[in-house]
């Protein structure tokens, strides 16, 4: 049955589009909320990388050096105190990394659920509830994790975990419940004899969509190749070096050989840097590839001129390629490559923001056409 059309300022919008992406619909909530989560997570990651990451790594290194020097001097109490400091700095760093990673990963999951919404065999009202529950949890968990380092065990009813951890765990539970609900809906769809939903979004073959899909696949492949190369050529070597350098440090300290300890400390710092950049390059390449593939599906919702849609797709892919490459080059070129990596991160953030604004413009147009349609309120 041909769907009726509503005339707007510069395009025609079908009723099926209105129904699939209506105001406050589950798909719209997941999509806009998901991109907002990814954007916030990436901006937080950039700020963390510039203002905290390197300073934190320096503190960890300094405390490890102090522990080694204390061992050299035969002072076990100072050794243990310094290792406690290392633990505290690592916890601080770990919670920041977890905040960044969880926000982005929940954003990815939200985009995935947005794509899958037509197959979730529940009424729209229930799907909307799942979306709200998911978004509430997806914000609560990273904020709770971020606060763990600052809140600690203050006023906590439990001896081992604080309020921030409890809030984070509750956020995780909300995400689990909402995701599980969507999975049940999917199961019902695949298990039952339901009418196959039509979704024009997945049939889109625009140039920008194809650019993002093919570019995303290439990025994932590059990430896999790099991961395989790192695992084959360096992983076991790095693990052996990690052990031998620590052994060198402690044996040197026990023997009172300061130059041996200092050499081992320097090499250990360089080794940690090499491991970190290789893992980060692998992970970022795969993650940005996945992001590009998912964004490819939503290009019909990006209400921008075609040339600008292609430009932003190219900017996103360029940033996604440059960032892992520059991260890898940090070992050789230091701060210059680090700055380039941060700039690449900004390119991705700008491209994502532009697409988000484009989707917001599209929703505005849909809502305006909805308002101009007689009895439009019934469809919600």
């Amino acid at each position: 049955m041909p769907s009726s059309r509503t005339l707007t300022r510069d395009s025609l919008i079908t009723e099926s589009e209105l129904a699939g992406f209506a105001a406050m619909s589950a798909r719209r909530l997941f999509l806009l909320g998901g991109i907002a989560l990814i954007l916030t997570g990436m901006i937080f990651g950039d700020i963390f990388a510039v203002f905290t990451l390197h300073q934190n790594a320096a503190q960890v290194g300094a405390n490890l050096a102090a522990a080694a020097n204390a061992a050299l001097a035969g002072n076990r109490h100072v050794v243990l105190a310094n290792f406690q400091n290392v633990g505290a700095f690592l916890e601080n760093r770990g919670t920041k990394v977890d905040t960044h990673v969880h926000m982005i990963d929940f954003g990815y999951l939200a985009l995935l659920l947005a794509i899958l919404q037509p197959w979730v065999a529940f009424a729209e009202t229930l799907k909307k509830k799942f979306a709200w529950v998911f978004l509430a949890g997806a914000w609560l968990l990273p904020i709770g994790v971020y606060l763990i380092h600052y809140v600690g065990l203050a006023h906590s009813p439990v001896k081992t975990i604080g309020w921030a951890s409890i809030a984070a765990d509750f956020g995780g539970l909300l995400v689990l419940v909402a995701t599980f609900g969507c999975l049940v809906g999917l199961w019902m769809h695949f298990g039952g004899k339901r009418i196959r939903p039509t979704d024009k979004l997945l049939g889109d073959r625009s140039t920008e969509g194809r650019m993002l899909f093919a570019g995303g696949l290439a990025l994932v492949l590059l990430g896999f190749f790099h991961g395989a190369y790192y695992a084959g050529a360096h992983l076991y070597k790095h693990e052996a070096q990690d052990y031998s350098l620590l052994a060198q440090m402690s044996a040197g300290a026990a023997a009172g050989a300061r130059p041996v300890v200092n050499d081992a400390l320097t090499s250990y710092g360089q080794l940690q840097g090499a491991k970190a950049v290789n893992i980060a390059a692998h992970a970022h390449s795969v993650e940005f590839g996945l992001l590009a593939i998912m964004l490819a599906f939503f290009q019909p919702y990006v209400k921008l001129r075609t040339t600008w849609k292609r430009r932003w797709a190219a900017v996103l892919l360029l940033g996604s390629l440059l960032l892992p490459v520059c991260v890898l080059l940090e070992i050789k070129y230091g701060l210059i490559a680090g700055g380039m990596a941060d700039f690449s991160g900004l390119l991705i953030i700008f491209a994502l923001l532009a697409m988000w604004i484009g989707i917001l413009r599209y929703t505005g147009e849909l809502d305006a056409s909805m308002a101009n349609t007689p009895n439009s309120g019934d469809s919600q």
Binding site: A67, A68, A70, A71, A73, G74, N75, R76, V79, L80, F83, G87, Y108, L109, L112, I115, L116, L176, L183, L186, F190, R196, P197, T198, D199, K200, L202, G203, R205, R210, F213, A214, L217, A218, V220, L221, F224, F225, G227, A228, A231, G232, E239, D242, Y243, L246, A247, M249, S250, A251, A253, A254, V286, L290, I293, M294, A296, F297
Partner: protein, 167 residues
């Protein structure tokens, strides 16, 4: 929905649930103990160095090495199972863009699914045995994923008419 898409989407969801379940079990029952063991053994070895006690120092360092080796792999397994599951689902949604006959797409989908299950499994097996077999399993699994993904990428770039993906 074609068989290849169904295999990737349902297989991906099952793998994601499995990976999350594994992560939950690990976080509740094993992770804190592993981190405590890593921290305590490393601090213990340096404290033993301060006491000029080489035997305790070496024993502690050995404990650190083993605990770290297992911990790194456990975390990798969790991350890779979920990451690969997401890749399977996303690829499954857009698999009609791979311009190959359905039979070959089914072959690629099977390769991706097998690799996504076997690669982290091989890494997990390394925590039980340091021998060559677990490594060979992990390498074979990653090979399946890379070759199948490469095939899919070629299919996306290849010219051809693919059926509608709207369903």
């Amino acid at each position: 929905m074609s068989g290849s898409r169904r295999l990737l989407i349902i297989g991906g969801i099952a793998l994601a649930v499995w990976g999350m379940g594994y992560g939950l079990w690990y976080a509740v029952f094993a992770e804190h103990q592993a981190l405590d063991s890593i921290g305590a053994s490393l601090a213990g070895s340096f404290a033993a160095a301060a006491d000029r006690n080489p035997i305790v120092m070496e024993t502690s360092l050995e404990q650190y090495r083993e605990a770290k080796y297992v911990y790194d792999r456990q975390v990798d397994v969790h991350g890779h199972w979920i990451g690969l599951a997401m890749l399977l689902i996303v690829l499954g949604i857009g698999f009609e863009r791979v311009n190959f006959p359905e039979r070959f797409r089914q072959f690629l989908a099977q390769g991706l699914l097998v690799g996504a299950v076997v690669f982290p499994l091989g890494v997990l097996l390394q925590t039980f045995s340091h021998g060559p077999l677990p490594r060979a399993i992990a390498i074979a699994g990653s090979g399946f994923v890379i070759v199948s993904l490469l095939g899919s990428a070629v299919g996306v770039v290849a010219r051809g008419s693919s059926p509608s993906a709207a369903d």
